[in-house]
């Protein structure tokens, strides 16, 4: 007979639903960190991430029967539930996200103050800037970046979680990366395009 640590997620879920506490503990320990990180990367708030993680596993206890192995893995199922809770939070309290979607096209201040490219930044600054840039993305782009880039899921898994086509995931990721580059690109490029010389030239024109 298999030990519980060797059991797959669906098997653990089945045991958990039949009341096996150990199976629940094992499943939680296997999956809670990805759920927590996903919520944290999406919201930028530890409190919200904790609440979402708690709600996701409460949902699993109550409505775990809703999981359909034919539609994806347990991990994808849990991330899908987490996404729904996160989006619900966004709709109920818009102030959770520190940077609004209105600032999409504006360069991100901490980065724009830096003279060099990304690889010249220190590691801590890089992490902070990238994290803020991701949080500043619109929801539909942010979730794709979080899932594909930060959770390192495949396009197929991401499409399962988001309930959309793989092509949609690819196009959103492409657009999201372009937005991130715009936010993280040094300010010099923007300054060159809006230099006084150019303005005066346009005035003479």
């Amino acid at each position: 007979m298999k030990q519980q640590t060797e059991l797959t997620d669906p098997e653990l879920l089945r045991l958990m639903l039949s009341g096996d506490e150990e199976a629940f503990t094992l499943l939680y320990r296997r999956r809670h960190s990805s759920i927590y990180r996903f919520a944290l990367q999406m919201c930028g708030s530890q409190q919200v991430a904790e609440d979402v993680t708690h709600d996701v596993f409460l949902f699993l206890m109550r409505d775990g029967q809703a999981f359909d192995p034919a539609r994806g893995s347990v991990s994808s199922f849990l991330l899908g539930v987490a996404r729904n809770y996160v989006l619900r939070r966004f709709r109920s309290e818009h102030s959770t996200v520190p940077l609004g979607e209105d600032e999409d096209d504006q360069p991100f201040d901490p980065v724009t103050n830096e003279p060099g490219p990304l690889d010249d930044l220190t590691r801590a600054e890089t992490v902070d800037n990238v994290r803020k840039a991701v949080l500043s993305l619109p929801e539909r782009y942010r979730e794709v970046v979080v899932l594909c880039e930060l959770q390192e899921l495949s396009y197929v898994e991401t499409a399962e979680i988001l309930g959309c086509a793989i092509g949609t995931v690819r196009s959103r990721l492409h657009r999201a990366r372009a937005l991130l580059l715009t936010k993280l690109r040094p300010i010099e490029d923007a300054e060159l395009t809006s230099s006084p010389a150019v303005e005066s030239a346009r005035c003479f024109a």
Partner: protein, 262 residues
């Protein structure tokens, strides 16, 4: 490879995702030859590095242990709480289902009732239609003239004016009596021509019975049957009885006039 094609694979190239070897080699060759694409792939690689740095930084992040403790507490205790919650959900769903089923049943019964009523009406009409040819009796509303002697021997009674059909002998006899009374009334107050055939008339057709229908026709119609027409009253109408066979074909016509006008 051109720049547009390169743009579509730049992100995958920078992320180190699996792709066809030919495409990868072509993209790398293009980035060496094309300065803007070289900068593009450089940006993508920097972004990828930044994202991976963030991933590495967050790898060690986990939810607080208090969440696990809370969930375990909920897992041990909530059977009572969870079950009612689910039961409540089921009840609400059951209510919707019951409403939907009741609505469907109502619709089905309504449709069946309407169909049953329409079929009943159709059956009644078809029964009447079947009964009529067997008896071969259709009593005209008023003025069927059959036998002058019989007309003369019957007493005068008030006349019903509605067209009626009868299915048994006693009713038929009563109807004939009433009809003859009507005819007598008219016969006493009207003068009429003989029936004149409308086209070729096989006398055997009339033996199957028929109806006499009172109509009004233009006075000019008289000329078609060789009857002289007063041109001063050319635009007026004149009454006529049309003998209609059982198949609905008009077979003969006679013209009628009040005695008082004669």
């Amino acid at each position: 490879m051109n720049c547009q094609r390169f743009e579509s694979v730049a992100a995958d190239l920078a992320r180190g995702r699996m792709m066809e070897a030919d495409v990868r080699n072509e993209a790398l060759a293009h980035s060496k030859a094309c300065q803007p694409c070289a900068l593009r792939i450089q940006d993508e690689e920097m972004l990828t590095r930044g994202l991976r740095t963030l991933v590495q930084e967050m790898t060690s992040i986990e939810a607080p242990a208090s969440i696990e403790a809370d969930l375990l507490k909920a897992f041990r205790q909530p059977r009572a709480a969870t079950v009612p919650l689910r039961a409540k959900t089921n009840t609400s769903y059951r209510r919707y289902w019951l409403t939907a089923v009741a609505a469907c049943l109502l619709i089905v019964f309504s449709v069946l009732a309407v169909r049953w009523r329409s079929e009943k009406v159709v059956d009644g009409e078809s029964a009447k239609n079947q009964a009529t040819p067997e008896k071969k009796v259709t009593v005209p509303p008023q003025k069927e003239v059959r036998n002058e002697e019989q007309i003369a021997s019957n007493p005068t009674r008030p006349k019903p004016r509605r067209k009626r059909q009868f299915t048994n002998a006693s009713a038929l006899a009563k109807a004939q009596g009433r009809q003859n009374d009507n005819v007598l009334n008219h016969a006493s107050s009207e003068v009429a021509t003989e029936f004149m055939p409308l086209g070729y008339l096989n006398p055997s057709v009339l033996q199957d019975g028929g109806q006499i229908v009172r109509v009004e026709v233009p006075r000019a119609t008289l000329a078609n049957f060789g009857i002289p027409v007063n041109m001063d009253r050319y635009n007026e109408r004149v009454r006529a009885d049309i003998l209609v066979a059982v198949d609905g074909t008009p077979r003969a016509i006679r013209f009628v006039q009040d005695k008082r006008l004669q």
